[in-house]
């Protein structure tokens, strides 16, 4: 079947030489944005210097003012991006966007080309991962265009109990969905360079077979129509190297996930539209829910190890931004197309898991400082994308430092004698004076910048009529209020956690590469252990503020209270029961919950089994005759005599003492060897009743 499909893509061996029309528009739009941000930030910074008692005339106040200026610029950038997105959406969309340039009528006639849909995984929940793939497979099959697409599960899992389950889930998927030769499974035995290394490994083996590669995450879902449109857009635009869709969050069950999901669905379109209109052909790649032009990507986007000191050495962790920069450097375009609906992802269910993911991302984004400063040939827009990512995390320690300096400023005013001559050799005294009315004005203007885009998002939904799909006007307004409260509550907790991550990264404290929890709730114990620093800092802060000055105490409450309550907040927000209850009140709901999409129906219908309790991993592979057949089929014979001898020892140990006597690595060795799997299977079933396996078979397998 595969052989009948020809490579019909327009072959691009070099980027197009002519300067595309969007570049001038991009320059105009970005210049306008820069002017707006700078003017607004200059006014705000001037105001803050007037709020301070010495009007920014000593080192402490200069530091406070400088930090405020940077943080304000950061907020202002987001604010104007949202406003711009709103304006564009109300004007009917960006005329330069790909979907406006290539309407549906034109796309329908474009021939498809061979496309691989790859799913790199590492210790992900097996059931959910394969259910998502099955949903996309079945949906694509219904379109009648399945022959253009192959699916690859690219596993980097190290734990044999997980990868054996993956193999089994893959086999069952192929068998039950009649997908032999359509869905493939590959596990790297040596996982070099994390996810980017996994994808590069795929390209080296099978990249030449495909014109395009759609990259997914374990929790990704893309509607078949969207995948087909992405391929056709790539066919029409040979200068595009990467086309990124803007994934919507789905399947949020806990209160935490629901608020993230709701925020993404309500405010996301404004920001992604604004962002896409500013970036145009120099957008960022987010690492999943995107399509790559395979040959260009293979030629230009392999990542070398960084050669800088400490954090800036070794494998690149956040590879996606760098790959987009490489693509731009090679002369190809990278587009974000917010109009590509039907692209989905999930969020971690709890704050704990979200912060765990942020820990990885902090390190990855801070690594980009090296490329931002020393990267050669990287386009300015992609340097700004690096800057954006870096500031996402660096803003937290800056905010923390800002608060600490403000505390010192208040202490100085209350506890220390007044310094009338803060500037050396000055003839005239400076009278310290507070301007609380200016402080209130400034706080109000910051609040407007944070909340106005949210109000505009509601208006956008109301004007477009889409608000009905979220349950109506009043449920949306109440949901936005809940989301604002939760977001404001979480902000100081994130600030402290991100500050810690930044410091750990700066000192190059190594992290363990770990898969994400996408399904479970967090426990009270874990939450208290993880949030203990927040509790201690919040308590000390509020005690100090109360002792120091009553007004300062009141100003500190919005930061200190969330820190003190971080652990209970983390647990309560992670509860799915509370999330479901809120959903049953028609709050924090997204359209897919009200009018389910066919793709999500597939996902729900095809949930293969009730959970990991039913999976037996290594034990299943050597005890169960059916599972043993599957894994023997996928295992390989070992060639080296030394290895074979070692395996004999491991087998015997496993037979006499059970798998707990083996390390994870030793189990992997056995599970990769066909002969060992067969031998163990035969031997286990012949074991006498008093042996380890004899007891197991009486208590375990026979009961099952």
């Amino acid at each position: 079947m595969n052989m009948t499909v020809q490579r019909t893509a327009i072959d691009v061996s070099a980027p197009l030489a002519s300067k595309p029309a969007w570049r001038m528009a991009a320059w105009r739009r970005r210049s306008f944005l820069t002017i707006l941000v700078l003017i607004q930030s200059a006014i705000a910074t001037h105001s803050v210097s007037w709020v301070l008692p010495y009007h920014g005339s000593d080192w402490l106040e200069i530091a406070i003012t400088a930090l405020f200026a940077i943080l304000f610029m950061w907020i202002s950038l987001g604010f104007w991006t949202g406003i711009y997105g709103f304006v564009i959406r109300r004007a009917g969309g960006d005329r330069l966007s790909l979907l406006r340039r290539h309407p549906e009528s034109e796309l329908t006639n474009v021939p498809l080309a061979r496309t691989a849909i790859v799913l790199p995984i590492y210790h992900e929940p097996v059931e959910r991962t394969f259910a998502g793939m099955r949903a996309m497979l079945l949906a694509l099959r219904e379109t009648g265009l399945i022959e253009y697409f192959d699916f690859f599960v690219l596993s980097d899992s190290r734990d044999p109990n997980i990868w054996l389950d993956e193999q089994e889930a893959w086999y069952n998927l192929c068998l039950e969905s009649d997908a032999n030769g359509r869905v493939f499974y590959r596990r790297r035995r040596l996982n070099l360079n994390y996810k980017s290394g996994n994808i590069a490994d795929f390209f080296r083996r099978w990249g030449r077979r495909y014109n395009y590669t759609v990259v997914l995450d374990a929790d990704s879902l893309i509607d078949c129509d969207t995948i087909v449109r992405m391929v056709r857009l790539m066919q029409l635009e040979p200068a595009i190297g990467i086309l990124q869709s803007a994934p919507s969050i789905i399947n949020g069950q806990s209160l935490f996930a629901r608020t993230q999901q709701f925020a993404n669905r309500i405010y996301g379109p404004l920001f992604t539209t604004g962002l896409a209109a500013l970036q145009l052909g120099e957008a960022a790649y987010w690492g999943h829910n995107a399509i790559l032009r395979t040959d260009c990507f293979m030629r230009h986007c392999g990542l070398r190890r960084l050669r800088g000191p400490g954090l800036f050495g070794g494998s690149i962790l956040s590879h996606d931004f760098v790959e987009a920069a490489c693509m731009g450097k090679a002369g190809y375009e990278v587009w974000l197309e917010p109009g590509l609906s039907g692209s989905y992802e999930e969020v971690p269910p709890t704050l704990e898991d979200d912060l765990k993911r942020d820990k990885r991302w902090t390190r990855g984004n801070l690594q980009h400082i090296w490329l931002l400063l020393f990267g050669r040939g990287i386009r300015f827009a992609h340097r700004m994308a690096f800057m954006n990512g870096i500031m996402s995390y660096l803003a937290s320690p800056m905010w923390l430092l800002f608060l600490v300096l403000c505390a010192i400023e208040v202490s100085r005013m209350v506890l220390w004698p007044i310094d009338y001559f803060p500037v050396d050799y000055s003839l005239f005294p400076v009278w310290p004076e507070w301007h609380p009315e200016l402080a209130i004005n400034l706080t109000t203007s910051v609040a407007v910048m944070l909340f106005l885009p949210k109000i505009l998002a509601i208006l956008d939904l109301a004007f477009s009529g889409a608000i009905r799909r979220f349950g109506g006007f009043f449920p949306v307004v109440f949901s936005v209020l809940i989301e604002i409260i939760v977001a404001a509550f979480l902000a100081p907790i994130r600030m402290l956690a991100h500050s810690r991550f930044v410091i750990e990264s700066a000192f190059n404290i190594r992290l363990k590469w770990a898969g994400q929890n996408r399904t479970e709730e967090s426990s009270w114990f874990i939450a208290w252990v993880h949030q203990a620093p927040a509790f201690i800092l919040g308590s000390v802060w509020i005690g100090f503020a109360y002792w120091l000055e009553k007004m300062y105490f009141l100003w500190s409450l919005p930061v200190a209270i969330p820190l003190i309550l971080a652990a209970p907040a983390s647990v309560i927000l992670g509860r799915t029961r509370i999330g479901s209850r809120i959903g049953s009140w028609r709050l924090l709901r997204v359209p897919e919950e009200i009018e389910p999409s066919p793709l999500l129906d597939h996902l729900i219908r095809t949930e293969p089994d009730p959970g990991p309790a039913n999976r037996l991993g290594f034990i299943g592979s050597i005890v169960d005759p059916v599972r043993n057949q599957i894994h023997c089929h996928l295992a390989k014979p070992v060639a080296s005599q030394i290895k074979r001898d070692a395996l004999v020892g491991l087998r015997n140990r496993c037979l006499v003492h059970g798998p707990d006597s083996l390390s994870s690595g030793e189990i992997s060795l056995l599970a990769q060897d066909r002969e060992s799997l067969r031998w163990l299977h035969d031997a286990i079933w012949r074991e006498p009743p008093g042996s380890f396996w004899g007891k197991y078979l009486v208590c375990g397998a026979t009961a099952g």
Binding site: N2, D150, Y171, C174, L175, N180, G181, F184, Y185, R186, A200, F203, R204, R205, W206, G207, R208, R209, M298, R299, H300, C301, G302, L303, R304, V322, A325, C326, K329, A330, L371, G375, R376, G377, I378, V623, D624, P625, V626, Q629, I630, H633, L634, D682, W685, R686, P688, P689, G690, L697, A701, T702, G704
Partner: protein, 83 residues
């Protein structure tokens, strides 16, 4: 050689067949009992081994279809531009 009762061997063999997805019928049980009887007839034989080895010959287990794990490899290289 430890003595294992035929009752235990019968339970083990039935468990194996069930785990393998075989529907146990009267005919199957009779065949299995005959296999155990053969094993018991030889006092030097390891009864458990004899029965478990005989299972696959007497009761052909369902063979799973071979699924292609990966398409044929077409090797190529990935370029690593300097940054």
């Amino acid at each position: 050689m430890n003595y294992v009762s035929s009752e235990f061997i019968l339970a083990r063999a039935l468990a194996y067949l069930r785990t393998a997805g075989i529907q146990i019928t009267r005919q199957f049980e009779r065949e299995l009992l005959r296999l155990i009887e053969e094993a018991l007839a030889d006092p030097n034989e390891d009864t458990m081994r004899y029965v478990m080895e005989g299972l696959s010959q007497r009761f052909p287990l369902p063979q799973l279809p071979v699924i292609q794990a990966a398409p044929p490899i077409q090797r190529s290289s990935v370029g690593h531009p300097s940054l």
